[in-house]
């Protein structure tokens, strides 16, 4: 991805990649076409961001003092100024995106001394998350996976709601349990425990993904326990009480209430961001209990030199990772790790891979051209789940 660099004039970058379509519009304007009519025709005739691979042009129309692109791509300025086309109210910003990229963003509009972050009015593509929604640009080659979409043609699993008493956490915890289609009480199933399970369902379509992957025989029918955290920042940051809840309270309760396979290779933990940390930590604290672990964009902060400067919430995590990196152990037989190359945690996750392998885990690591967001995590679920829990795909021909 190449953003503007070099000389700046009037607050924006003259070396920004030039969109051929924008250049053509500017020619019309110079030639004396009525500006408003030309811009109207341009906006009506195109979809935005304007895709001219590898160039993508973000466009905003309206009166403003300045317009900026706001994004979360690590290593780049998070604010990139749009350029206003002379004599118009059309603002644009062009950047180069590698194929298969997916970038979430907002547009910042500054007017009358106020700055407002808005979703792109000209782009219908949205990604939701617990904080609201972002606009999305999808570069050439990126497609929402078909297996992530809800389908009326597949057999659907069902959800149970449980209240699990926890002495470790000193309160009852709400847990949602996914039972696969055609569940039979006289069969035994693998178990996957998912941190932030409610968010995975809401923002990463986890139930649809499970329904589809099971229906396609790419993963086996499985029981999936979806956790809903209390004080997430505390519980998911290598908290021994949370690990005790998962291994000593939740797991026995699920084994009592559901027909689960008894071996570690049929038990997995999964999570994203701090949820990945919580998964890693529970597996580390209870070696041999969970044979499969799926970690997405984990906040695996460590310090080789100096102290943690990321804030006190990460102190326990840094201590855990420093100790683990010094003496890695086999926390799970198989681990799947994914991270987006546009997020700041990419180097921490790359470092984790080496430690996991030194500890003896069989590791698959996938990087994607995406960021720290739920749709990135959704898009990696097929690879992760089918590798940790391979289904009878090769055997079933109905």
């Amino acid at each position: 991805m190449r953003f503007d660099a070099g000389a700046r004039e009037h607050g924006y970058d003259l070396s920004m990649p030039r969109s051929p379509a924008i250049a053509a519009l500017e020619k019309q304007l110079v030639a004396g076409f009525a500006a408003a009519d030309a811009v109207d025709a341009f906006v009506d005739a195109n979809e935005f961001p304007l895709a001219e691979p590898p160039l993508y042009t973000f466009v905003y129309r309206g009166h403003a003092d300045a317009v900026r692109l706001r994004h979360w791509v690590h290593g780049l300025q998070t604010s990139a100024p749009f350029r206003r086309l002379d004599g118009t109210d059309l603002w644009c910003y062009t950047l180069e995106l590698p194929d298969e990229s997916r970038v979430e963003y907002k547009i910042e509009v500054l007017a009358r001394g106020r700055a407002e972050w808005i979703e792109d009015p000209l782009n219908p593509q949205r990604a939701r998350d617990p904080f609201g929604a972002n606009s999305v640009v999808q570069a050439r080659g990126y497609e929402i996976p078909d297996w992530a979409r809800e389908s009326g043609e597949v057999r659907h699993g069902e959800m149970d709601e449980l209240a699990v008493e926890s002495g470790a956490l000193e309160s009852a915890r709400h847990v949602t349990v996914y039972r696969p289609a055609e569940f039979r009480a006289n069969r035994r199933y693998p178990l996957l425990i998912v941190h932030d399970g409610g968010d995975y369902v809401e923002y990463a379509g986890l139930k649809h993904v499970l329904d589809r992957l099971i229906d396609r025989f790419e993963v086996p029918r499985m029981i999936v326990a979806l956790l809903h955290p209390g004080d997430r920042m505390s519980e998911y940051s290598a908290d021994p009480a949370h690990a005790r809840f998962v291994a000593e309270e939740l797991l026995p309760r699920l084994e009592r209430d559901y027909p689960l396979l008894p071996d570690p290779e049929s038990r997995g933990l999964m999570g994203a961001s701090l949820g990945a940390v919580a998964s890693f930590h529970a597996a580390l604290e209870y070696p041999g209990r969970f044979g499969r672990i799926l970690l997405q964009s984990g906040s695996f902060l460590f310090t080789d030199i100096g102290d943690n400067e990321s804030g006190p919430v990460f102190d326990r995590i840094v201590d855990m990772m420093n100790a683990y990196r010094a003496a890695p152990t086999a926390i799970a037989e198989k681990a799947f790790v994914s991270v987006g190359v546009y997020e700041p945690l990419v180097s921490e996750n790359r470092a984790l891979i080496h430690a996991l392998r030194r500890g003896g885990a069989d590791v698959r690591f996938v990087e994607s051209r995406d960021g720290h967001n739920w749709e990135n995590w959704r898009d990696r679920l097929r690879e992760g789940l089918s590798w940790l829990f391979p289904g009878p795909l090769w055997m079933v021909y109905e």
Binding site: R184, E383, S386, W387, W394, M395, V396, Y397, E398
Partner: protein
């Protein structure tokens, strides 16, 4: 390194007089249409009784909702899956020996796939190599022959392990099995047609074997769908060109019952095979030649009456160049 691919002993006892292989459900072809056609042609008596083998559906076995309701009053399900569970409950020694045998087969399959990956990768690279064709053509042929050799050796090993289990445990002579077989025989009384449904090919094959294999079919007319068609062939080939992980190299799984001779059954071909990849298609066709790789998509069908196969309504096979051609051209 030419390896003669042994033709397995063909025991015509139990060979059906008429055999119809179907692709998966879907398309315009319904089971009832085939049954009516067989009745009209005299292969079946009007209103003949039908036995269904649905062990491939596992937990959903004998689910009447999956059998055409217009045939339901004529169909008796043999319930081989449920019966095998009962046998396992009644005969722990047999169940344990079967599990051990299965674990050996799994280990063998893992090793075979490791070796297969290397050999197919070599052939793939040679196929893409440009240079002196007088040299490369022979190298490619040898690379493919190495794959065929491994396939043949693997199949022999699978049969050996299974035969060792069957020879040692003699399932057919054990009380729990004989008791269930008697009940199956009773259900088969007066049955003219056996329908072998698809599903899990390994589960289906092991249940068919437990209940006598081709003798179970007893010379009756047979309609077999999808995995049901696969288990009736001489050599079961598992395939998926676009799995979530791995190269998706087709693999030889086991010997089938050997009733459907000269073909490799490929159900869901359009969904599971990269049919636009001629190189893959050509390798698949050449690897299993002289058997025909038959593309059994939903609604497709091939028939055998007497010694010859015939394709019906546009069914296709892969030719040696990986192209799709009408199946009847191979007959």
């Amino acid at each position: 390194m030419r390896v003669s691919r042994r033709r397995r002993a063909t025991d015509h006892a139990g060979s059906p007089s008429r055999l119809v292989l179907l692709g998966p459900r879907g398309g315009d072809l319904a089971l009832i249409d085939v049954v009516r056609e067989l009745e009209a042609g005299g292969a079946l008596s009007p209103g003949a009784r039908i036995a269904a083998i649905t062990a491939g559906w596992r937990d959903r076995e004998a689910n009447e909702g999956l059998i055409n309701p217009r045939l339901a009053d004529r169909v008796v399900d043999l319930e081989l899956y449920r019966r095998s569970d009962r046998i396992a409950e009644a005969d722990a020694e047999l169940a344990r020996a079967h599990l051990e045998s299965r674990n050996r087969l799994r280990a063998l399959r893992r090793a075979y796939n490791l070796r297969l990956h290397g050999l197919i990768d070599a052939h793939r690279q040679l196929t893409g190599l440009r240079g002196d064709e007088t040299v490369l053509a022979a190298e490619r042929e040898e690379a493919l022959e190495a794959v065929r050799c491994l396939d043949a050796r693997h199949l022999d090993r699978v049969v050996e392990i299974r035969s060792e289990f069957e020879g040692r445990m003699a399932p057919g002579e054990r009380d729990a099995v004989r008791s269930q077989r008697r009940e199956v025989d009773a259900r088969l009384d007066g049955v003219e047609l056996i329908v072998v449904e698809g599903g899990h090919v390994s589960n289906l094959l092991s249940r068919l074997r437990l209940f006598g294999g081709r003798e179970l079919l007893g010379g009756r007319t047979v309609i077999a769908r999808s995995a049901g068609a696969m288990v009736l062939t001489e050599r079961i080939v598992l395939f998926h060109d676009r799995p979530p992980w791995g190269e998706g190299n087709p693999e030889v799984f086991d010997a089938g019952l050997g009733i459907a001779e000269g073909i490799v059954a490929l159900p869901h071909a359009s969904a599971r095979l990269a049919l636009d990849d001629r190189t893959r298609g050509a390798r698949l066709a050449a690897r299993f030649a002289p058997a025909s790789c038959v593309l059994l998509d939903p609604g497709r069908r091939i028939d055998r009456a007497g010694d010859g196969w015939s394709g019906v309504d546009g069914v296709e096979r892969l030719d040696p160049t990986g192209r799709r051609v009408p199946f009847r051209a191979a007959a």
